[in-house]
């Protein structure tokens, strides 16, 4: 088999040397992709030719402007949560994305950082005065501690492959929760946690405002991203990806597989612990429930959404998911924008040709009007509920969705039917699939207006679960990752 050497076509960038884990064919086909003409093409070309640090600098500049645009403390808090999640996803990316080790105890490192900072900067230890270290003392202590903890947790990985490691780390995470809940309540506070923690302080200055923490986190995130990029392109980074692809082959190539795995855990632990210190300092108090499994799954969802294995993906995934869940799901109106927007966007991206898309949307609208008329003719109370959300979308949908005056039972049935319909949609082939899409869309709107909007916290969790399943099935490389081709 002969492979044509790639001709230096016009507008085609010579791809950089092949990287581990990216199939040659994929690399070449993505290199062959045509650039758009005009301004867009120029922008694209400039962007691709740019090194990593100008990109990072631009992103940082954007990040630095954000607090100036925000008007209240709540929005700043949303920003801080988003940066925290991005930082955590970045750390998780090391073991999961690069080294391919499923680390389900990651949240414990975050908790370790938070509790470590809490103990070193509050009245808990060495009563009654307590310990109140400056940041330049406590942060290094915590980082070193977390690295050691990462090593200890990863020690089983020397002997365990894949899934066993996942269990051990999951147990470690659970054990951390149990530990903080039950052991030494006078020091760790048990379920009541540790309160009144000092802010981050150094050389007589201290960070007290949310704006301050936003910038501190931004700096931390940028520094971590830069450091991790350098690490990724170094020998260690290549070794991680080699181990991910095939540990046996990697060890044949004289890569010290065990040491490389331990390093991945340690680096991840340090990043998570640093995030934890900022969390503790900014929140002023920490509780065991801050570090529970749902939050771990949220970090996973962020990483998977953005794309495991890429720094930009992890950061964008974290920011996107956090802002989406915190900022938008808090008010029903904005949640509605998000819900209908995502559905519409998915349809626009996935449905080809345009006529079909328009036909489906029109059919859904007509279907809704027909169903609403029929149901109203049968029973007035069955449509008496109306949308639970407010705003212009809700008023537009008022005579379209069927929401009974007591939506719980009907909504529950609708929710189960909706899940079944989604499963069925996946199995069906095209003509039937398009037809079935119409009632599914309509039912989704009804269930949303009837039940989901009224239960934002549960909706949020369901959404996270759905993101994990759908992303893994439809686009395992995430929104921004490069597709990996398995070498058989």
């Amino acid at each position: 088999m002969t492979v044509e050497p790639e001709s230096p076509d016009v507008g085609v960038e010579q791809k950089h040397d092949p990287s581990v884990g990216v199939d040659e064919w994929v690399a070449r086909s993505s290199g062959r992709r045509e650039y758009a003409s005009g301004v867009r093409g120029d922008a694209q070309r400039v962007f691709e030719r740019m090194g990593w640090w100008p990109k990072l600098a631009i992103a940082t500049a954007f990040g630095a402007i954000v607090p100036l645009l925000l008007t209240n403390d709540f929005q700043l808090q949303v920003g801080i949560n988003a940066l925290l999640l991005a930082l955590l996803a970045l750390g998780l990316n090391i073991s999961v994305g690069w080294a391919g080790l499923l680390d389900l105890g990651y949240i414990a490192f975050y908790g370790f950082g938070a509790y470590g900072f809490a103990l070193l900067s509050s009245n808990q230890l060495n009563a009654p005065t307590g310990i109140h270290f400056a940041a330049y003392v406590s942060l290094p202590i915590i980082a070193v501690g977390a690295a050691c903890l990462g090593l200890i947790v990863a020690l089983p990985s020397r002997r365990l492959i894949g899934d066993y490691l996942a269990i051990i780390t999951l147990f470690f995470g659970e054990a951390f929760m149990e530990f903080t809940n039950n052991v030494a309540p006078s020091k760790l506070g048990g379920p009541n946690g540790i309160t009144s923690i000092d802010p981050i302080k150094a050389f007589g200055h201290q960070i007290t405002t949310n704006k301050g923490y936003f910038y501190f986190l931004l700096i931390l995130l940028v520094l971590s991203a830069a450091a991790l990029h350098l690490l990724d392109t170094s020998r260690t980074g290549r070794a991680w990806r080699a181990v991910r692809e095939d540990p046996l082959a990697a060890s044949m190539m004289t890569i010290p597989v065990n040491r490389v795995k331990l390093m991945a855990f340690s680096f991840g632990a340090v990043v998570a612990a640093l995030a934890g210190t900022v969390f503790a300092a900014q929140q002023i108090n920490v509780f065991p429930t801050d570090f529970d499994t749902p939050y771990l799954i949220l970090i996973y969802a962020a990483l998977i959404l953005g794309g495991a294995g890429s720094i930009g993906g992890a950061i964008v995934g974290g920011l996107l998911l956090s802002v989406m869940l915190d900022g938008l799901l808090r008010s029903p109106t904005e949640a509605g924008y998000l819900f209908y927007g995502v559905i519409l966007l998915t349809l626009i991206v996935k449905m080809r040709p345009w006529r079909k898309l328009i036909a489906v949307l029109a059919a859904t609208a007509v279907f809704g009007i027909v169903v609403h008329t029929i149901v109203e003719a049968i029973s007035k109370s069955a449509v008496a509920g109306g949308p639970q959300s407010t705003g212009w979308i809700a008023s537009a949908l008022h005579n379209w969705v069927v929401v009974p005056s007591n939506p719980t039972t009907a909504g529950n049935i609708g929710f189960v039917v909706l899940l079944c319909l989604c499963v069925a949609l996946r199995q069906l082939k095209d003509p039937l699939r398009t037809v079935l899409l119409v009632p599914t869309l309509y039912l989704a709107a009804c269930v949303w207006e009837g039940v989901l909007v009224a239960q934002p916290s549960i909706t949020r969790q369901i959404l996270i679960g759905v993101i994990l399943i759908v992303m893994m099935n439809a686009r395992p490389q995430g929104l921004f990752g490069a597709r990996r081709v398995e070498v058989m």
């Binding site: 499923l102 894949g162 799954i297 369901i462 994990l468």
Partner: protein, 305 residues
């Protein structure tokens, strides 16, 4: 001594439930090499189905049918319903990922577990529900020797678990399906080449494993009364431990591991402190994994190059 025996009986009861869940983990791991994190939540769904069967027949205090029939219905509906749910999950979430990198189905399993938990939370709320078993199976029944009490529900749990495990062992050892399952877990591609319908075998495995979890859920409701939507996570974790201690992929190993974890937990609760039960059980697991990573009855997997 009586105290010890009592704790032993309690441990065996709890251990049988863990063993039933662990069997599902182990079987699925055997055929797919996938840790199905959603398995514990299937157990929770089973417990809820059992609860609604009781409500359907008039509630625990005013049953309209005889108790044995009720229990049979609970087992059948929970087993069938949860088994079907397991098959649906496999079809929907895991089958497309069968040839994906190992980490992809694991993460999907996390998502499925999270989705199931929260879907149930949305449907039925966070409050505890009470089987109120003592209203239709009185505590006074069963065996009482001195201060040692083995009540009817405990006997039921142990007998049913033993019967199910024996049935499963026979199924795997003697029937055609069992042979196919063993073949698929040995080498899926080779099994496919020999004309085995791998999709069918995997679906059947999911059905059986999930049905066992569903029945275990019903028995959990009968034995401990309180059920809630997040009960699956910690029970699943313990059953996980059981499957791993016994050697994952091994069916007798899962049974042995389940009993050991149940007894260990009960002894720790009885003699040391209930606060540290989970920590100690996790500790046992971690030590176990370090000393003998393949579990008690597991085989050392050959690495193929």
């Amino acid at each position: 001594m009586h105290f010890f025996l009592q704790e032993l009986v309690n441990g065996i009861t709890q251990g049988s439930l863990y063993a039933l869940i662990a069997l599902g983990y182990s079987m699925v791991y055997g055929v797919l090499k996938l840790l199905n994190f959603a398995h514990g939540d299937l157990y929770m769904v089973g417990a809820f189905i059992g609860y609604f069967v009781i409500q359907w027949f008039g509630g625990s205090t005013a049953l309209s049918i005889p108790v044995p029939l009720l229990i049979l219905f609970m087992f059948l509906l929970a087993g069938g319903g949860v088994g079907g749910l397991g098959v649906a999950i496999e079809r929907f979430a895991y089958r497309p990922l069968r040839d994906a990198p190992r980490i992809a189905p694991l993460i999907t399993a996390l998502g499925v577990s999270f989705l199931l938990e929260n879907a149930m939370l949305l449907l039925f709320g966070a409050s505890y529900r009470d089987y109120n078993t003592s209203a239709f199976i009185p505590y006074s029944g069963g065996i009482h020797i001195g201060s040692l009490n083995i009540d009817t529900v405990q006997i039921l749990v142990i007998v049913v678990s033993v019967a199910l495990m024996a049935g499963l062992t026979l199924l795997v050892a003697k029937t055609k399906l069992g042979r196919q399952m063993r073949a698929v877990s040995e080498d899926r591609e080779a099994a496919e080449m020999l004309g085995i319908d791998v999709d069918y075998v995997i679906a059947a495995t999911f059905f059986i494993g999930s049905a066992l979890a569903g029945i275990a859920g019903v028995m959990d409701g009968l034995a401990y009364n309180n059920i809630y939507t997040l009960m699956g996570f910690i029970a699943g974790l313990k059953a996980f431990t059981a499957a791993v201690v016994g050697g994952i992929g091994s069916i007798p190993g899962a049974m042995l591991g389940g009993l050991l974890i149940g007894i260990a937990e009960s002894m720790v609760t009885g003699y040391i402190s209930s606060t540290y039960t989970n920590l100690i059980v996790f500790g046992i697991l971690i030590v176990m994994m370090l000393v003998r990573p393949t579990g008690l009855l597991g085989k050392v997997p050959l690495q193929k190059v």
